[in-house]
Symmetry: C2
Subunit: 208 residues, 2 copies
């Protein structure tokens, strides 16, 4: 099938939303934990997450155009601290439903039956059920002028990961920790390792 620019523009809205959210490929599956100034622990699922750099250690998260209902964004800007918690196959359903538009005074931890966890005096809640937990501090945001979205960048201040989730070279063993990828807005995939290759050098190209 072939979709051209004008076909895409004229697609039925839900079809286009699914197609374009899905066409960029499998995405990271994380819950962002923040604290509202009223003390409520906020939790929301995000998949538009991108590695920005290793030194300093930076991760970017894309936010839709901001409104007064953008609780996660407002909390990050107010507090500067937030957490990124990997979703694994044991609590996908709970994680998915954090995306419902709950009122500001409702904690998604409560209604979705996930457990806030406070570690190392960090000023935002981690998710106890997550096996990979990252604590970040807001450092920068970039406004995407083409569609009024925002790329929020945080620096990693804490990483919590089980010993069996990391090999001796620092590789994160996503499949061993039952990590998942998200396709589009609604599909969850389990990961199975099928290959690993060394750093590619031009004088060490193998036969194909």
């Amino acid at each position: 099938m072939h979709f051209k620019l004008d076909t895409i523009t004229n697609l039925e809205k839900n079809f286009r939303t699914n197609l374009i959210n899905g066409i960029s490929g499998g995405k990271p599956a994380c819950l962002i934990g923040t604290k509202h100034h009223n003390g409520i622990n906020n939790l929301a699922i995000f998949s538009n997450i991108i590695h920005i750099g290793a030194n300093p250690a930076l991760i970017g998260i894309l936010f839709r155009p901001i409104s007064d209902k953008s609780h996660t964004y407002q909390n990050i800007k107010n507090n500067l601290y937030f957490t990124l918690n990997h979703i694994d196959s044991s609590f996908i359903k709970k994680a998915h439903y954090t995306s419902a538009k709950f009122p500001e005074n409702t904690s998604e931890f409560d209604v979705c039956e996930l457990t806030p966890e406070f570690l190392e005096d960090f000023q935002a809640p981690f998710v106890k059920e997550s096996r990979i937990k990252i604590g970040l501090k807001f450092v920068e945001e970039q406004h995407i002028t083409s569609n009024d979205t925002l790329l929020v960048i945080g620096q990693i201040e804490h990483i919590f990961i089980p010993k069996e989730g990391l090999d001796e070279e620092g590789n994160v063993l996503l499949a061993d920790l039952n990590g998942v990828s998200i396709g589009g807005l609604s599909t969850y995939y389990e990961l199975s390792k099928i290959a690993q290759f060394p750093y590619a050098k031009i004088d060490q190209i193998p036969p194909f």
Copy 2:
């Protein structure tokens, strides 16, 4: 295991690179096709790819700090047009080795034994072996000041996808097309669908 900010800063370089590239989760696996003004078809693997928006249909790609060896970036800025081609499990090894630093006058298509394909007069090469192919036009770039990287944003002008890779609601069936996710810099994961949920509404929260 717990890594704090100062521990991360002082990690051995390769360990830190692997850890931080992997900690953001499973990433999209794509090849970017561009054309150099000398006519050479360039191909390079990228995983730092992010959905930016569905209408207009936008995808972002993160580039390391630019040098005269950043052939893909230079070609995009010179030509404006580029392609994003999904890697599937049938050609992971060839795709991985496009990351070697070949000289400018070498086409990665040739050395990695992949086939350039020209469709609809688009001014950049697609990858014939890819089952999902996207043609994009450069529309915007944002400079990340924290580490001098660049987020390049393209608007989707063409999507090619097999009929069996799309359901009637527009969902992209990544597992049916043998799509893969990348962990860190070197690990490839196969995807198996394990769940799909409806759009989450606060009055339709299921029992967990």
